[in-house]
Symmetry: C2
Subunit: 140 residues, 2 copies
């Protein structure tokens, strides 16, 4: 499990520094719930991330040990990205964010993605989804 150095000892004050901003979270969402693995797929997301921001955020997430970068075995000229165990462990935070925004923010699709399964049994959803991602971790 990769661990990184930090300057503050407060568990809360550290997390956003390591997680990054909205764009980082969107990349994590796309890997976590949509199975996206490469630049082309990330660029297709409706939020319209730019190539420059995508490259910066992927590098930062890689430096944090949240994603890992590998040569695509099917196309050696391309990279593919996957969440590490540390990245997969962000899922409870992301799920709680989804619950909060569907409760408190107008215009959010309350049935988007896995929201119904999350509302029905959050613990079961997390257990199954995190286990599936960890089982898919490939050693490149």
């Amino acid at each position: 499990m990769s661990r990184i150095k930090t300057q503050s000892s407060c568990p809360i004050s550290n997390t956003l520094s390591h997680l990054g901003d909205k764009w980082s979270l969107l990349i994590i969402r796309d890997m976590m719930f949509l199975g996206k693995q490469n630049y082309t797929a990330f660029m297709e997301s409706p939020e319209g991330i730019s190539t420059k921001i995508l490259a910066q955020r992927l590098k930062a997430l890689e430096d944090e040990g949240i994603v890992s970068k590998h040569r695509d075995p099917d196309n050696q000229s391309k990279n593919i990205y996957q969440l590490t165990e540390k990245g997969i462990d962000l899922m409870p935070i992301v799920v709680e964010m989804s619950i909060w925004s569907t409760t408190h923010v107008d215009g959010v699709d309350v049935n988007a993605g896995h929201m119904n399964a999350i509302r029905e049994d959050k613990a079961a959803f997390l257990k199954t989804a995190m286990k599936r991602l960890k089982n898919q971790l490939k050693a490149f």
Copy 2:
């Protein structure tokens, strides 16, 4: 319950836009777990927030309906701030951030604040702590 307009329908892509950055989260932490209510108290936090950033972030959190501002009944020249119900409902996100960073980030105090109670029974901790804050909500 206050609700705000947003441009994207994805529950995940919205949350960080509304929650803000690291400084906003630190203010929320101080209100949520340390009972801080005013400028003087917020300024004493070890992360060293500046007066300018504090004022900007409190205003943004107020605009988002996450905190509410009131005249201090004991000192009419001062304001006090409290989390709204929408703000209190951020607690599960903040708690999951704490769990993640104590697991994955070096140098974080794994026994800080309420971490032992959270590890022992997260659901019970959240239920008690959120209920206490909601019961304390004052109508000014």
